[in-house]
C-alpha cells in the first residue's frame, strides 16, 4: 500500500508530460486484487492505459473453453505478461527517446560553451560583457535544466523498476505463480534500466558545471546541509523564493526533483510487511556496519521462518 501511495503522489507531482509514461501500477494492482473477477468498472481507472476488462475478457474466453482451474491462471499469466511487455516497450521507447534528446542537447551546450570561449579568446577583452554574462547564465541555466531532467529520467527508470518488482511480487503472491524472478531478470537488461550511458552524461554535465562555475564547489558544504534539511521542511518556502528566478521549466524540474526525493525516502522507510530484502533493512544493515548472525535481521527471520515452516509442514502431506 505504501508504495502505491508514494508512487501515485509522485506521479501527481512530477513533470506533466511524463505522467502517463510511468508504470500503470494501480490498474495492475486492481486487476490482481479482483482476479478472477473483473475489476469494478470505474471511470478513473478506465482512463488508465490498460484495459483491464479486456484482459479479463481474454481470460474468460479462453477459460470457458476449457476446464476451470488450470486455464485461468495461465491465461492471466499470459495477459499479465503481455501487459507488462507493453509497459516495458513504453518505458524503453520513452527512455531511449529522452536519452537521445539529452545527447543532442548536451552536445549543443558544449558547442555553445566552445563558441563563447572562442569569442573571448579572440578579443582581448570581452566583446560585450553583459552579453557574455547573459550567455553564460543561459548556458548555466540550461546545464542545470538538462542535468535535472537527466536525473529525473534516472528516477523514472528506478521507480518503474521498483513498481514492476512490486507488482510482480503481488502477482506471485496472488496467483502462486513464479513470475517475479525470471521477469525481473528480463527487466534488468532492458534499455530503460541500463542507465550507465545516462549516468555518464550526468557526470559530464556536473563536470562542466564545475568547470564553468567553480564557485559552486565552495558553496557545496555549506549549502548541502542547509539543503538537506531545508528541502524537507521548508520546501514550500524555498520554492516560492526560487520560483521567480528559475523560470518555469526549471521550476517544474525543481519541484519534480523534490518529489522524487520524497518518493525515494518513502521507499526507504520500513513498510508494514517485514522484508529483509527491502531497502529499509538493507540500509539499516549498512548503517550498523557489523552484520553478524545475531544482529542481522535474518536472526529474527529464522525464528519466524521456523514457525511458518512448522505451519507448512503440519497440514501438508
Amino acid at each position: 500500500m505504501k508504495f502505491g501511495k508514494e508512487f501515485r503522489t509522485h506521479l501527481e507531482e512530477t513533470l506533466p508530460e511524463w505522467r502517463d509514461k510511468f508504470l500503470c501500477y494501480k490498474p495492475l494492482k486492481k486487476l490482481l486484487k479482483y482476479y478472477p473477477y473483473p475489476p469494478p468498472a470505474d471511470d478513473s481507472s478506465n482512463s488508465d492505459q490498460i484495459d483491464s476488462r479486456q484482459v479479463f475478457a481474454d481470460t474468460t474466453n479462453l477459460s470457458s473453453a476449457e476446464d476451470d482451474g488450470v486455464r485461468p491462471a495461465e491465461d492471466l499469466q499470459d495477459s499479465f505478461v503481455r501487459i507488462l511487455n507493453e509497459e516495458l516497450e513504453k518505458f524503453n521507447d520513452f527512455y531511449v527517446d529522452k536519452e537521445e534528446d539529452f545527447v543532442i542537447r548536451l552536445q549543443e551546450l558544449k558547442e555553445r560553451i566552445e563558441k563563447i570561449k572562442e569569442k573571448n579568446c579572440k578579443n582581448g577583452e570581452f566583446a560585450s560583457e553583459s552579453e557574455f554574462s547573459e550567455e553564460m547564465m543561459d548556458i548555466r541555466r540550461d546545464l542545470v535544466s538538462i542535468h535535472g531532467e537527466m536525473v529525473l529520467l534516472k528516477n523514472y527508470s528506478s521507480l518503474n523498476f521498483a513498481g514492476l518488482v512490486k507488482i510482480l511480487k503481488k502477482y506471485d503472491k496472488r496467483t502462486g505463480g513464479l513470475l517475479r524472478l525470471p521477469f525481473t531478470q528480463v527487466v534488468l537488461h532492458q534499455p530503460f534500466f541500463t542507465t550507465e550511458p545516462l549516468t555518464r552524461l550526468v557526470r559530464e554535465c556536473e563536470a562542466n558545471l564545475e568547470l564553468l562555475f567553480p564557485s559552486e564547489a565552495e558553496v557545496v558544504e555549506s549549502s548541502s546541509n542547509a539543503v538537506s534539511t531545508s528541502h524537507q521542511n521548508n520546501s514550500p518556502r524555498i520554492s516560492a523564493q526560487t520560483s521567480s528566478t528559475l523560470g518555469d521549466e526549471n521550476l517544474d524540474i525543481y519541484r519534480s526533483t523534490l518529489a522524487a526525493m520524497r518518493a525515494i525516502r518513502g521507499l526507504q522507510k520500513a513498510s508494514s510487511t517485514y522484508n529483509p530484502l527491502s531497502f529499509s533493512s538493507l540500509l539499516k544493515n549498512e548503517d550498523d556496519e557489523t552484520v553478524t548472525a545475531e544482529n542481522s535481521p535474518n536472526s529474527e527471520n529464522l525464528q519466524s521462518k521456523d514457525e511458518s515452516e512448522k505451519e507448512d509442514n503440519g497440514p501438508s502431506p
Binding site: V81, N85, L88, N301
Partner: protein, 415 residues
Amino acid sequence: MEARPVQRSGSRELSNLTRTSSIPSTPNPSSAAAAEVAFMRSENNNNNTQFMSKPLGGQNYHLLASSNGGAVGHICSSSSSGFSTNLHYSSMEKHYASSSSNAAAAAALRDDSSWCSDSLHGGFLDFPENHHQASQIEDGGGIGAAFDDIQKRNDWHEWADHLITDEDPLLSTNWNDLLLETSSQSDSKKTLQVQPQPQIVQQQQPSPSVSVELRPVSTTSSNSNNGNGKARMRWTPELHEAFVEAVNSLGGSERATPKGVLKKMKVEGLTIYHVKSHLQKYRTARYRPEPSETGSSEKKLTPLEHITSLDLKGGMGITEALRLQMEVQKQLHEQLEIQRNLQLRIEEQGKYLQMMFEKQNSGLSKGTASTSDSPSKSEQEDKKISDSKDHLTPEETGKCKEPESPQPKRHKTDN
C-alpha cells in the same frame, strides 16, 4: 507460431527459456538461427575473454566511448524487450519484424536490448580490437559500474544461450528445468563455443577499418523491417558525434539530407529512419538557441525580470537559485545511485538463492523418484532443505526470505 528467427526480433526471451532443448541442438535447422546462436556464443566468448581483466572490461564497455573513429551505436529493437510466453509470440512479432537481422534477433533472444549496447561491443572487439585498444578511454567510475553490470549480463546471457532453439516452446513455462539447465550446462558450453566461432568470423566480416560498425545488424538476413523501421536506435555521444561531423561536412543541419548523412556516416545497421528522426531532433535543438542569441531582447528581458523581482522577493539571485537546484539534483542523483545498486543487489541475491533452491530441489526430486515414498520421508527431506537454507542465510546476511515464498508453493505442487 514458431521458427521465424530471422524476422523475430521480438520478445522471444522467455519463450526461449521454455525451450528446454539446448546446446545439443546447435546445428539449427535454419542457418539464421545458427548464425544467431553462433553469434551469441562468439560474443559470449568475447565477453568472457574481455571481462577477465577489468581494463578490458572497461574497454569493452567503452567501446562506446572510443574515439578511434569507431563511434558505435546500437540498435535496440525495442521488441527485444519483454518477456513472452508463447501465446504472445505472434502478437509481438508483428511489431518488430524489424531491422533485427539474425544477429539482432540474436540480440533479442538475449532478452536484452542492452545486449545491443554492451555485450554486442564484445562482438565488435572481435575485429576492430586492435584499433580500439589503442584508444581506450578511461573513466574510472564508469568502468567499475559498467564492469559489474556487464558481468551480470554476461552470466545471464550464458544461460539464456542454452535455451535457444527453433523448436516450439513448451506451453507450460517450466522455470525449474530452466534454471537447472543453466547450472548444469554452463560447463559444456565453453567447449561448444569454440566450434561456432570460426563460423561467425566468416559470416560476419565487417570491414575492420575505421568505419563505424553496428554489430547486431548484419545484412545477411532478409530484413523485413523496411516497412516498419521501428527498431530503436540508442544514440550514444560517440555516434552522435559522427552524426554531427557528417552533417557539418554536408553543409550544416539545414542543408544536410538524411540520405547524405547516412552515407557519410557509414554505420552499418543505421537506417534512414533513424537518421531522419535524429536529424529532425537535431534541427529543432539547434533552431531555438540561435534565434535566442540574435533575437535577444524579449527573451533576455525575462531573466532580468526574474532577477529584479527576485531581489524584491528574497535576495536569492539566479546563481543562488541555480546552485540550490543543482544541489538538490545532485543529491537526488546520489540517492538514485544508491537505490539502483540496492535494487541490483537484491535481484542478484534473489536469483542466486533461487538457483540454489532449484539445485536442491533437483537433487531432492531425484532422490524421491527412486523410492516409493511415504510422506514422512519427504517431510524429512523438506526439513533437510530448510536446514541447509538456514545454513545459507547466515552466510548471506539474511537475504533469503524472498525466494522462500516460491519454495513452499513448489513443494505443494510436487506433493
